[in-house]
Amino acid sequence: MLTMPRNDLLLFLGFAIAVLTMPIWMAPFGAAYPDLLQRFMIYGLFALGFNILFGLTGYLSFGHAAFFGVGSYAAVWSMKLLTIDALPAMIFALIISGIFALAIGYVSLRRSGIYFSILTLAFAQMSYNLAYSVLTPITNGETGLQLNINDPRYLDRMFSAATPSVPSPTMLGLPLTGFTGFYFCAGFLIIAFFIAQRITGSPFGMMLKGIKSNQTRMNYTGFNTRPYTLAAFVISGMYAGLAGSLLAITDPLAGAERMQWTASGEVVLMTILGGAGTLVGPVIGAWLIKYFENIFSAINENMLARFWDFLPDGLDHAAVVVSAKFVGEGWFLTLGLVFVLIVVFLPGGIMEGVRRIASWIDRNRKSTPKSASPKTQPAE
């Protein structure tokens, strides 16, 4: 870590602090409860991994949710068969999702562009459909795979007798619920961020970026690009598997819906919204979408009425009716609009917006050094 460039180190430390203090600065937004914070971490991890594939190599996978789901199933099975401890579950999930990603990636990466997208989509949809129906003995179908009192848990049984109730997942005896669960996930997000940062800065990462800008040229220079893209695909699949296992650990249930193509679409939205190719962007995108999904969608007309209360009569009613279309059940509409605007005007996502604002401030400061200080808030 000491050999990291100063900027990278600062970014990493800033990120770690921001993540760990989330329970504080999220409180004013009504989001500082453990379950949502855990989801922030988990989907942040998922988007971070997706970005290693899409952001660095430019390959747009529309089937990444499959790895997420496979990770969840693997983790729950480990907790059912082996032990309730989280670490074996995560290792198991990493291995299974890695193998799964290797198989799918090996086949799908024979094509690029939209054909690659369709191939990954097809594989993910096949996994989803089968998980829902004929694979029910493994996946428990629509109900989802859950822990039971009479699961064998062979490793645990060697050391202790069966518990009278369904145990909840632990790590070395520490129960992973509430804020403990959050810090557990946060730890993995920070580690994953560190790894992603190292990958991006490494020669391997440069190679991936080279593939994104011009694969043909890379091939002509004598590189065989396939092993590199495959490695990126597998790493990214394992990130997804890890995220899936964390979701299963903090909430021991694995359902097939999390493999559906719309779930894959969601991680694409997260990454683009935040800024593909940047490190922090996808994580912010994930937070934003999960925040929308959980908080924005729970706003109802009563809350709006209170919010618009200051307006004169009649007008406040109209304001409630109009704004109700965009919150509550309509949160997805807001998200869609924001997404379209971002793709059209800010193809680099929120991070490009931040960069543009920063350089705009920078420019202003340089041209008029004296009047710079009051202008910290850009007008945009």
Partner: protein, 451 residues
């Protein structure tokens, strides 16, 4: 600090301790959160108590979800002593006073479960952790119900299931903290089979189309067992993917299969689509084996019947309840719901309303919100007047044992809501069964897990 007075469990020390170690700035927040100074999850300390409504407002069962929401809002009004009091006046025996629950006003928070188990669980978690819900209720698919019920067991929060018909909910996946008022597929089979035998004869050949997931399978099995026991043959049982839109490729093989009855083990939109399309294939105008070809939908609701329109006329199925019944409870509820929303309630609305009242009543009788006591008050509770006749909340599996209705699509509806007729009320003795046949274990109620 109140925390110290109550004694520290190992778990609580670890939770707060770790939080304190990692970020000292975080600790004050947690101590003030209040959730830590109580002996069970979300013990209501103020003058309100919050219900968490987990409703599918989008997705395949959205229509049922919207109706459930209306019913819950009505129930909460009645519990708080507003409106005409609805079923509060007819519940026998009743400890409800119409001043909230144990003197606390009832409030609610809601969450759109999108008819997805994952989302339902996340919503329930949010309502428990953030909004302090004392009880979770709702849901209109068995997958959702089982997922949320499992969560509630882990959190120590009581779950009053809404519309869920799978045998598993109070069978192999039953939980100590989960309760179901709705009937199940097994009871549909026992109730429906004799009527089918009477109407269509004992030597029928049945063809099943089944939604390919747990509920579909349990219903297929239940109906198959019940009809085969009286002499019917099963030609084939074909599984169709859940959420299919076009059933034509599954319908064509039926035409010349030698079957003369089609049994649709579908629900919600799936059933609306498969039934409509089966009728478009001319199945109801066909002759097979010298008999008129028939279609049966073992579980049907007024909302689905409305969606299927013309196609549902004359078709047999079962229901938990129907607004056209003539007992005092049904009349009171239909009137109260109709006055509030301008349409009669569906069976989903009814079960939701009743579940909310039964929970409140159990708390009043227990004299506390402490879940194990409430569970004891519900288990084995015998009551009447809610529109289903005398009803028992069975202690062994938390399944309500009550009459089952056999219904038939109305041939000449007088209004858009008058789509089903009640053909027969199957008495509860007939549809009761041994809870042991489905296995499963309720698990303990104590020690109460802390959310």
């Amino acid at each position: 600090m109140t925390l110290l007075k109550r004694g520290l469990s190992r778990r609580r020390v670890l939770q707060t301790g770790l939080a304190g170690i990692i970020g000292t700035g975080v600790a004050p927040m947690i101590f003030t959160k209040g959730a830590w100074a109580q002996e069970f999850c979300n013990n209501p300390t103020g003058d309100t108590v919050t219900f968490g409504l987990n409703l599918p407002l989008t997705g395949a069962y959205a229509e049922e979800g919207a109706d459930e929401q209306k019913a819950y809002e009505l129930a909460i009004k009645h519990l708080n002593g507003e409106g005409d009091g609805g079923l509060l006046n007819v519940l026998q025996p009743s400890a409800l006073k119409g001043n909230g629950i144990l003197g606390k006003k009832v409030a609610f928070v809601s969450s759109d479960s999108q008819t997805k188990s994952d989302v339902a669980r996340a919503g329930a978690t949010r309502m428990i952790e953030r909004d302090g819900a004392i009880m979770i209720t709702g849901g209109s698919s068995s997958g959702e119900a089982i997922a949320v019920q499992g969560l509630c067991q882990e959190m120590g929060v009581i779950f009053m299931a809404g519309l869920t018909h799978s045998n598993d909910t109070t069978g192999k996946d039953k939980k100590r903290y989960g309760f179901r008022h709705f009937f199940n597929a097994y009871q549909s089979g026992i109730g429906l089979a004799p009527v089918l035998g009477q109407e269509y004869g004992m030597d029928r050949r049945a063809y099943h189309l089944t939604a390919d997931y747990t509920w579909g399978w349990t219903q297929e099995e239940s109906i198959k067992n019940a009809t085969e026991a009286m002499g019917w043959n099963t030609v084939a049982a074909v599984r169709t993917p859940l959420g299919s839109t076009d059933y034509s490729q599954y319908l064509t093989p039926i035409l010349n299969s030698g079957a003369d009855v089609l049994i649709l083990n579908h629900y919600g939109l799936d059933m609306v689509n498969s039934l409509t399309q089966a009728v478009q294939f001319g199945m109801r105008d066909r002759q097979a084996n010298g008999k008129d070809f028939q279609i049966v939908t073992p579980l049907i609701s007024e909302l689905m019947a409305k969606g299927a329109g013309e196609s549902v006329k004359g078709i047999f199925g079962t229901s938990n309840w129907h607004w056209n019944l003539q007992d005092a409870g049904t009349i009171a509820f239909t009137k109260s719901f109709g006055a509030a929303y301008g349409s009669p309630p569906s069976q989903a609305a009814h079960t939701a309303y009743v579940q909310a009242l039964l929970y409140a009543d159990a708390v009043e009788r227990a004299g506390t919100f402490y879940p194990p006591e409430v569970i004891k008050a519900l288990e084995g509770h015998e009551f009447d007047g809610m529109g289903n006749g005398a009803t028992l909340y069975r202690a062994e599996d938390h399944q309500c044992i009550k009459n089952v209705l056999v219904v038939r699509g109305n041939e000449s509806p007088t209004s858009e809501f008058d789509v089903l007729n009640v053909v027969q009320e199957v008495p509860r003795e007939t549809v009761a069964y041994d809870p042991a046949i489905f296995g499963g274990e309720l698990g303990p109620s104590e020690p109460v897990p802390m959310c």
